[in-house]
Symmetry: C2
Subunit: 311 residues, 2 copies
């Protein structure tokens, strides 16, 4: 019976997203069907002043089209002030159930008494997405992410989309279901990639007719060395296919604060983030997008096309 | 009746701290009675990486003898790691019931469900000590500061003393009583100054025979301009009297993080804190102490002399 439900839902989803004769997402966004659309998305806003400052520069360069915010972090008020004064900025929520840096940490928005399964023995959110997923009670995760959305709105942030910091909410079916339920209730689009369908076949059954999955997510790995940066992005952009692609970037400066945050953690570290900042705000990146006929879009535009009123 | 109790307790306290023939605190610390003892104390550790880094430099210069930590802040793990690797450092708790910066904020250790009176409408601790004191239910303050002490100990910090960030716990009698009750239960010394007795006469009734009040607290005001810095400290050190004095300093670097923390707030701002750092780690300050026969001590030494086993 499970299989039957699954097959039916996949068929519905495929029909809903690109039935013969119906408009594709790209067409609903107002572009010819063969257009290559890209959301260049900065993650982790709110985590540090350095991240906020570099990400705002990225957004204002015009080459970063979207970003998402970590609500439990102490630098939230800084980015909330930016959101209030820049209502056109495409800012979503980077729903946060982990606290990954050794010397700089945070807890949930809700008190530990309400969400004990979210906390490690030091009273912070878990260090890794796998530890978090292994311990989290999905009901508590749901309460917490609803509280994160409520706090964002109370601070004047009108989120255009949802995604999951470190992919914690993408770790298992129960957490995915939680994310979809909350997103649907709030009429918000979610970051989902078609690449995930093979390993998470249940995912397609969660998607409604107005959900969307991007073709692929481009995200440079910590293993790419400084001299391989330009080539990684050049290859990735050349390979972008018609439809919607998302590129996730992690912007910060290699300054004292960010060195402290990422202490003893060169992967996703401060130098790595500054390299990402320098590349995606460069003329070389602008030219790369132009030369490959890649057009930038935002989650707000996608949400509007899908009639997500939360966006 | 109140007056009678007050008179009796003042008499007891005076007798307990310096009865005729009994040892004064300075003598209990092993010094001649006319010794000028000074604790140079850095406040606000844990609030920012910049504060942690500058305060550790201050402690390691030998010219800053003590410091206290803000437990609810995200940089706590960094300073907790330092405390674990430097058990000789004189680190207390800067009990925190306010969150004073506009763009960078924090909440309590306990969940908002347990301590609602501690939170402003944005879900953070109040911006000012007066707002905090006006709204706080002392029972909730007590639960929160007990939780801050518990979290400190769980992270391997063995606090040598207690004081109150922005003096929130010094704002009224009920909060003072809370602080003394918690300090006594934990056998920890508290920052109290004899200068406060006139405006808070109830204070003397809270002090037990093993509590101590410093003669005076030296703390440079935000109004002192850069060219007045050396003169302020020179005058202050020259005026130090025999007995115990505390000098409160606020150390940080004038870097991007700290400029962000103190944005639009030049009072107690990043440049002001860097000036404080530069002066109190300077040879000029070392010479000033030597020339005036001022000896540095710590809250740990004071606690030991008073047989405070928590220290």
């Amino acid at each position: 019976m499970k299989l039957k439900v699954f097959t039916t839902i996949v068929a519905c989803m495929l029909f809903a997203t690109s039935p013969a004769g119906a408009k594709t997402l790209v067409e609903r966004l107002g572009y010819p069907a063969d257009t290559k659309l890209l959301i260049v998305h900065a993650d982790d806003l709110g985590v540090a002043h350095s991240v906020n400052a570099a990400s705002i520069k990225g957004l204002e360069s015009g080459l970063v089209s979207s970003a998402s915010i970590m609500i439990p972090c102490s630098w939230l008020p800084e980015i909330a002030a930016y959101a209030r004064s820049h209502p056109e900025a495409d800012l979503g929520l980077h729903l946060t159930l982990t606290s990954e840096w050794g010397l700089y940490r945070w807890g949930p928005v809700l008190g530990k008494e309400l969400v004990p399964s979210l906390l490690d023995r030091d009273g912070y959110l878990y260090l890794t997405e796998s530890e978090a997923a292994a311990h989290i009670n999905p009901k508590e995760a749901e309460a917490e992410i609803r509280a994160q959305i409520a706090r964002a709105r109370a601070l004047g942030i009108q989120p255009t989309h949802l995604d999951s910091h470190m992919g914690t909410l993408y770790q298992n079916q129960a957490l995915f279901e939680t994310l979809f339920r909350v997103a649907h209730d709030n009429k918000l689009v979610i970051r989902v990639s078609k690449e995930w369908f093979a390993s998470a076949p249940f995912l397609t059954s969660l998607m409604g007719p107005d959900d969307v999955a991007v073709n692929t997510i481009i995200s440079i790995e910590p293993s790419v060395t400084a001299d391989g940066w330009a080539k990684f992005y050049a290859d990735a952009v050349k390979n972008i296919q018609p439809g919607l692609t998302e590129m996730i970037v992690h912007l910060a400066y290699d300054d004292e604060e960010m060195k402290g945050v990422t202490f003893a953690h060169p992967d996703w570290g401060s130098a790595w983030r500054q390299r990402d900042f320098q590349f995606v705000t460069s003329d070389a990146f602008r030219k790369l997008l132009q030369d490959n006929n890649v057009k930038l879009t935002t989650w707000r535009e996608v949400g509007k096309a899908l009639k997500k009123t939360g966006s």
